[in-house]
Amino acid sequence: MAQVDQKALLEFVLRQGDNTLVLGHRVSEWCGHAPVLEEDIALANTALDLIGQTQMWLGLAAEIEGEGHSADDMAYLRDAWDFRNLLLVELPNGDFGRTILRQFLFDAFSAIYLPLLTKSADPRVAEIAAKATKEVAYHLERSAQTVVGLGDGSEESHARMQEALDYLWPYVGEMFASDSVDQAMAEAGIGPDPAGLRAEYDALIGRVLSEATLRIPEDSFAHKGGRNGYMHTEHLGHLLTQMQWLQRAYPGCEW
């Protein structure tokens, strides 16, 4: 393997792990409150998969960082500005429609991106991606199906799904807003530049959203600042306040 900029590699891995951590946390907020029992079970299942992926990604991040930290330290002891997740995943859940649509928008990206990462020049990345790819294929199948069911459902469900899409759409573009980290990863054969995946992504979500009778907003403006940590939303701090509370209040304990 060619010399890889370890700082860029760490950034890259944190982006993966922080996405799954923050989204897994958001989805887990539904536990016990979903519209039907089957959805409660399915949402918990998705959250579980995402937390499992987080353990692998953040474990690798800690290894690359080389300062003796654990995956838990990465999750529970970094502050908001250290997080490298997409803004999309830190947004509040909203109603069930927004939650499932956000899941779909994220799953669609993962379902394209992760299979490419299985060919990574870094075997550690390839191994995590291989495991996650199987889970994500199932997540996508389920979230796409539900988006279609609700988009092409009743008048109210259609309206709510359109509202959710209008709200979430400005957060989609950040997935493809690549930077020097992505370029370094592409050059080292670690992972593809996400910017090159946009056409495939648009085709995939276009098919599903059209079946769901939902209209993709024309404005292509994209909020950014999550994946490079420059400027998160106000929501992330609150999420971390809750997630990290025990570790912060009782430092150094074993749980």
Binding site: L21, H25, S28, E29, C31, G32, H33, A34, P35, V36, L37, E38, E39, D40, I41, A44, N45, A47, L48, I51, G52, T54, Q55, L58, A71, D72, A75, Y76, D95, F96, G97, T146, V148, G149, L150, D152, G153, S154, E156, S157, H158, R160, Q242, M243, W245, L246, Q247, Y250, G252, C253, E254, W255
Partner: protein, 330 residues
């Protein structure tokens, strides 16, 4: 025990002489440990009592998601978060098996849900107590799931086939739940002074509510005899409570925690621990709706149901469109 004070006929056990031919044949089958299956003839009261019991058990699983769900977003490590999520997900799954078992008796899940939300059906009193610290996640697994297992293991042999089979699956998962709870308690009891304090505090608050899970003393339990004759209740409340105390006391000692009962003492003569009864007035208040969390728990379930109405209706509308399109295409 996730079903308490399940109303049976309210009468004494029917004598053989008073039984119809069908009833006698049914009782013979139960006595011979032959399972009753959905299409078999069964006394109306057997059916009704079972619906109440299985329904109450299912509701307990569903409402029981809330006190533990309360800590999922604050779980202190990724592993603990994953384990807790898996556990709460199991509980939703248990609810699903049990509602399915109840459906074989001719009641729908929606009907049962409606009865829960309107307060006409109960769930276990234990879930009306709050979970205040992370140690409560340990105590709930250790004590609450531990108490549930006491009742559910014998129920694997219950007379009604679908219920019995649901219990077999549920019991496997419950014993994992209990062990994960105890594992949390071990960490807490061996941890920092603050963690030990949380562990003792959790035991102090959860002990008596856990004893209440078995229901009132046999002498005050009017519904037991007929249910036991039908084998939908296998042991008496007091038997199970005693068994629970006997098994739990050494576990608490191993943790170095003190059970909040000055009268707790091993009785050489009976081979059992003597212990104080919980405050039964408090128990009846909780059943009436006056527990610390009754209002919040039920409101949370109502909100989930009401907020989810558009989702259920939307998906149904979509399924109908699909079905209509399929018919049109044929």
């Amino acid at each position: 025990m996730y079903a308490q004070m399940v109303k049976s006929t309210g009468d004494a056990v029917k004598s053989r002489e008073d039984m119809s031919d069908d009833e006698r044949h049914f009782q013979d089958k139960v006595d011979a440990n032959i399972k009753v299956e959905p299409r078999d003839w069964m006394p109306d009261d057997y059916r009704k009592t079972l619906i109440r019991q299985i329904g109450q058990h299912a509701h307990s699983e569903i409402v029981g998601q809330l006190p533990e769900g309360n800590w999922i977003t604050r779980a202190p490590t990724l592993e603990r978060k994953a384990i807790l999520l898996a556990k709460v997900q199991d509980e939703a799954g248990h609810g699903l098996y049990l509602y399915c078992a109840a459906e074989t008796l001719g009641v729908t899940r929606d009907e049962l849900t409606e009865k829960l939300l309107s307060g006409r059906m109960k769930y276990s009193s234990i879930f009306n107590y709050p979970t205040l610290t992370w140690a409560d996640m340990g105590a709930v697994g250790w004590l609450v799931d531990g108490a549930a297992i006491m009742n559910q293991v014998p129920l694997q042999r219950t007379s009604y086939g679908p219920y019995s089979r649901a219990m077999v699956r549920i019991c496997k998962e419950e014993s994992f739940h209990q062990r994960q709870g105890y594992a949390i308690m071990m960490k807490m009891a061996q941890g920092s002074p603050a963690q030990r304090k949380m562990a003792q505090d959790a035991l102090n608050r959860m002990w008596y509510p856990s004893l209440m899970m078995f229901g009132p003393s046999d002498k005050d339990s009017v519904h037991s005899a007929q249910s036991m004759a039908w084998k939908i209740k296998i042991n008496t409340n007091d038997e199970l409570r005693q068994k629970f105390v006997n098994e739990t006391v050494p576990q608490a000692e191993y943790l170095g925690l003190t059970i909040p009962d000055e009268n707790l003492k091993f009785n050489e003569e009976t081979g059992n621990y003597d212990f104080s009864q919980p405050d039964w007035d408090e128990f009846f208040e909780v059943l009436k709706g006056n527990g610390p969390c009754n209002t919040d728990r039920l409101n949370a379930r109502r909100k989930a149901w009401d907020d989810g109405a558009w989702v259920r209706e939307g998906l149904l509308a979509h399924a109908e469109k699909r079905a209509a399109a399929k018919v049109a295409a044929e």
